[in-house]
Point group: C2
Chain length 204, copies 2
Amino acid sequence: MSSSARLCGVTIQDRRERERAERHQLIIDAARDLAEQEGWDAVTTRRLAEKVEYSQPVLYSHFKGKDAIVRAVAIQGCGDLARVLREARPSRGGSRLRAAAEAYLRFARERPALYDAMFVQRSDIPWGTDEVPRELLDAFGELVAAVEPVRRDRDPEALTEVFWSSLHGIATLVRGGRLRPVHDDTRLDLLLGALSLAQHEDGL
Amino acid sequence: MSSSARLCGVTIQDRRERERAERHQLIIDAARDLAEQEGWDAVTTRRLAEKVEYSQPVLYSHFKGKDAIVRAVAIQGCGDLARVLREARPSRGGSRLRAAAEAYLRFARERPALYDAMFVQRSDIPWGTDEVPRELLDAFGELVAAVEPVRRDRDPEALTEVFWSSLHGIATLVRGGRLRPVHDDTRLDLLLGALSLAQHEDGL
DNA sequence: TCCCGTCGCTAGCAATGCTAGAAATCCAGG
DNA sequence: CCTGGATTTCTAGCATTGCTAGCGACGGGA
């Protein structure tokens, strides 16, 4: 096996692995698309298998179970969020903090299913200390950078966690219809004003 | 039917209604207990029916479906939260805002399943303008009162929404293992300091 | 050409939310 | 104390879910 592989230049094995990787990604994309179109309830193994034009057992040769598929979607979603935050530039007269906050909330609003997989649904993604996926660190890093201008002498990570938590709380409560849309703007102004700690309280 | 009821003093009809109401509450309590002990995944109609010592169809004579049961648990949970917040008195040297925040986070930490039903799980509880359950208004009212001392000239409802959102974000992200427990104290200090807007920044 | 290993599919299992129709229960009236 | 009729409760089952065992087909190496 190994000798033949070496002789023919690993092309057969390689092609198979490549095709497998493509199908792996195809499953993730299909799951995300289906979830974004009809919600996670609609993402059943049967419908997903139908969408990728394979049978259900194929899914299980790529992922340990449905949860693992959702997790893969969530991790790639963190990559998306990191990109969105990185490209969020302050508009005229706005701070970087505000730009990041608005980009974050827009992401949560426009891609609710993806956001749910990332931050709402129960998952065993290791956020702690060990093998944290790079995408997560990227996203968090963008938030840290956004907070830096108003950090003062406060702990960067803790402050970022507060910023993130507030945005996450707003995003999920708004999504659940638990906050009044009337206050959307005021709410964000108040949060940013409080975090910036009265640097210029013109808006108040 | 009505004549006999009037004659015998509505005792038969009354007793039936009372027993029905008791069973109604029994189902809610059983669902909450089961969820708090083993999580919502363990709350199946069969296990719930077994716990109340009836068969599944009985559940459906009281509630439209499983979602309605969860919703009933959630609404009563809001009553619990309102009570907890009302009884949260500032400890020595602490502000009312801090007392409320700590009580809120303790509630979310100690009763995660109940908290999930109230604020995380998707539900069609009318939070908007129409028939909002009293328990919800009570809980929100307690938060409004807690925020009042640091309100200044800011909009009370919007500020309360910010406060609530931040607490909710912290509670859910901590619960999901997405924030570092090391920062638990610092995080709350930063949030309260920001919302109080540097009234006295000794802690920083 | 044959053979073996990999691959994907068909068919099925247990568990879920929910419901129809049978069975049991209960309370007047005789 | 019985009996009829209505209400209530249970048994049994359906469709759907996540997941898996075991068979068949395909393809590359001798």
